[in-house]
Structure formats: structure tokens, C-alpha cells
Symmetry: C2
Subunit: 238 residues, 2 copies
């Protein structure tokens, strides 16, 4: 399920960790120490990284690959909380808040992650108060984006919600190609439906319509945004 591979750590430049919001502003020696305290895990596509309600004892940073975090409710329905890009962290809320993981994280591609145990992260926070402050501001940002999503799901029509979501995905996880901006990991209609509070049928119909209009290009588990401004118009028009 998980394989450790120490050689990767040896070849990694600690300064890359400075990209991670949690470790922003640390000096080189601090980053070095943080890296030394980490362990590395490889997770194959489709495998779980952590499970909902498991005691939260590890903070992860994605090094390469992508993961999906989804919460499943009592009724078995899933809601996609978000996708994790390289150099983003996950698990921090649960570890800091002292609760279980809020959802299940699944690798959607073969991925490499750095991992720190709860005890280690707490020690690092003690040594570098900057890390605690970073955690606070990162979580605050997530809370705000959650509030925005709540507002959207509560007040907006499906098409517009999909447009908003797709725009954000293209923005945060996109990769420019000759055809347009492509979501940089495999994502199904079902995933998009679970992010927007709708059904895969409606997502499929919507994307088909947008395809007709030349706004998106799409194939199995791939979506390319050709006309970002049209998407913007759908998302924001009165």
C-alpha cells in the first residue's frame, strides 16, 4: 500500500519546501531540519492515503501527483472537499484540531508524499513559531473558500456552479496546452458532480453543451478549458 523510499529525500532540495504554505518564511536551516524530520511515502493511483475518521496522526505534503479528499455522509453519498496539488498539504486541520480526518484522501495518480507525525509537527511548531502562524493562515484561507462554496451551492444554479468550480480547478491545477488549459489530473464527471452538489448526468449534459459552443474539450477523465472568458461569463453573468 505504502512504500518508503529514502533515496528521494536525499536528492530533494530543502528549499523546495519553502513553496509549501506551512513552511513559508523559514530559513534554509529550518527547512533542512523540517525535511530531515519527514518520511517519504509512495502511493499508487487509487490507493487511500488516509481514511475518514481515522485518528489524525500524520500531516502530509504532496510532492508529486494529485489526491482527492472526499467526505462521505451517513447516507453513503460523497462530497468532494477538494483536490491536493503538488506542494500543498493535507491533514493539518485534523492534526491541529485534534480530531479525526474529515474525509478520505485517495491518490488519483501515482503520488509521492512527505509525511510528519503529529508529535514531530508539534515539535517543529514549537521550534519555529512561524509554522504555527502559517497553519493558522492556511486554515483560515480554507475556511473562507469553504464559505464561498457554501454560498454557491446554496444560491446558484447548477450550470453556474460547475463553471465556478471548473474555473477554480483550471486555475489551481491547470496546465497550459495548445488546445487550452487542461486539468492536470484524471477527473471524472462524477468527481465534478460531487464537488458541485449535482449528478454526473447533469455534469455530462453541461459539458456536452459547452463542447458544442467550443468552450471546453473533454475526453475520458480529461477536461480542457478552451475559452476561459466564456466560462467566466457563465459564472458571473446576472
Amino acid at each position: 500500500m505504502e512504500v518508503r523510499d529514502m533515496s528521494i529525500r536525499a536528492t530533494m532540495d530543502p528549499r523546495q519546501l519553502g513553496t509549501v504554505s506551512l513552511f513559508e518564511g523559514l530559513d534554509d536551516r529550518g527547512l533542512e531540519r523540517v525535511l530531515q524530520a519527514a518520511s517519504i511515502r509512495k502511493v499508487a493511483a487509487g490507493q487511500a492515503i488516509f481514511e475518514q475518521e481515522d485518528a489524525a496522526d500524520t500531516v502530509f505534503v504532496m510532492v508529486a501527483g494529485h489526491a482527492k479528499v472526499a467526505k462521505r455522509g451517513a447516507d453513503g453519498q460523497e462530497t468532494v472537499i477538494g483536490f491536493i496539488n503538488p506542494w500543498e498539504m493535507m491533514g493539518c486541520v485534523a492534526v491541529c484540531g485534534g480530531t479525526g480526518y474529515p474525509g478520505t484522501a485517495t491518490a488519483v495518480e501515482d503520488s509521492w508524499l512527505l509525511a510528519w507525525s503529529r508529535a514531530t509537527i508539534e515539535r517543529l511548531m514549537d521550534e519555529h513559531s512561524r509554522i504555527a502562524r502559517n497553519a493558522l493562515s492556511t486554515i483560515s484561507g480554507r475556511l473562507q473558500s469553504m464559505q464561498t462554496r457554501l454560498h454557491e451551492v446554496s444560491n446558484e444554479r447548477v450550470e453556474r456552479r460547475i463553471a465556478h468550480t471548473l474555473r477554480r480547478l483550471a486555475d489551481a491545477s491547470g496546465r497550459d496546452t495548445r488546445q487550452g488549459r487542461e486539468i492536470a489530473f484524471p477527473i471524472t464527471r462524477q468527481d465534478l458532480a460531487e464537488m458541485t452538489g449535482t449528478t454526473l448526468h447533469t455534469v455530462s449534459r453541461t459539458l456536452s453543451a459547452w463542447h458544442q459552443q467550443g468552450i471546453v474539450e473533454s475526453a475520458r477523465q480529461r477536461i480542457i478549458v478552451r475559452d476561459a472568458s466564456a466560462l467566466e461569463r457563465i459564472a458571473e453573468s446576472e
Copy 2:
């Protein structure tokens, strides 16, 4: 709009501050210092405490009264993020995250609040690392409850969402009366609609139906839950 009244502070027992999640675990001397750093404000019902997008420079703790925090979107629609009860704080996310306030806070009753400036709260956090940790865990809790609400709005039918919301309100902000458990502050159908992502019409119809069944008692801006277990059944039944 806001009136300062220092005499209240003089008569307040610092230990009451220990009830506030942000200051949990501080010793008496710490609480004393926190209280000394606070200023007091009185806000009349209907008045704003802070406005959406204002630079977040003050953290508040409700001493007596209740406030509503609502976010209004680009389209002018409002979403109620939550209600603030006595000894709960607000503004912390924005102040800690370094962003503007995520919504507008309005007193729904005449209220008294303690207030700390950003600089003061940061100094207090430096002096007492416990405060920073508390902030982290409080915000984590809010994030999780946001995720739960997102899941509900995405996947559940209106009636069930209202049941969930009403249950939580009665739980967190209820007061036991001979008729049942009453929401302890004035709340309109519109407020409830904006919390659940529906319209005041639907809320009204739903409450009427529940009234028929003896589940709730309600009047202008007042709701009493008579049969909590029935509500539970509506909220959780398959």
C-alpha cells in the same frame, strides 16, 4: 453606533473568560491580563458589528446578546454563516488569516462585546502560546462544521436540511421552556432560509407542517422545538 462602557469591565470576573475557547487553559493571571487588554462595546439590535470586506482589525467575544454573521455574494444574495452566542468569538479567522472579514456581523439583540485589536491579540498570542493553539483548534472545528454543512446542502432535501439546522440551533443556542426548547434569540424564516439554502416560503411551509404534527411551536421570530426526537428522525431517516 457603538458605545464604550468601562464600568462593565470592572465588574466582570476574569475567570468567565476561561469559558471562551480562545482563552481556554489560561491561568487566572493570564485571564486577568487578557481582560485588561480588552475594550467593551455595546451594540444595539440591528446594528452592524463589522462589515464584510472591512480590513479585519478586531477580534470580538460576545458577552451578552446574539449576532448573525452573513455573507452576501456578488448577486446580492445572502448566506447566513452562523449565529454567535455569548462567550463565543468572532473575527478571529479574518484577523489571524490576514484577510478582510468574510461577512457582515449584525447584532440581533442588544449586545455587549469585548474587543481586542489585531496588534493586541498578536501580542497576547506571543505571551501565551496556548492562545494560538486554541485559535487553531477553534478554526479547525469551524472548518469541519462548514464541510458538514456543505455536504448537507449538496446532498440532502430541503426538509432534512432545515431539520438538521434547527437541531443544531436548538442545541447550541437553545433555552429550555415548559413548551420545549426555544431558540434563544429572534430568528426569522428568512434567516433560516439563508442558513439552509432555500426560500422563506419553503421554510414557512415546512414549519407549518411541523406545527400540525406538534413538532414545533412558532411565532414571529420565535421557534420552539417541542419534539426533538421527531426532528432527529426527519434529519436522519433513510
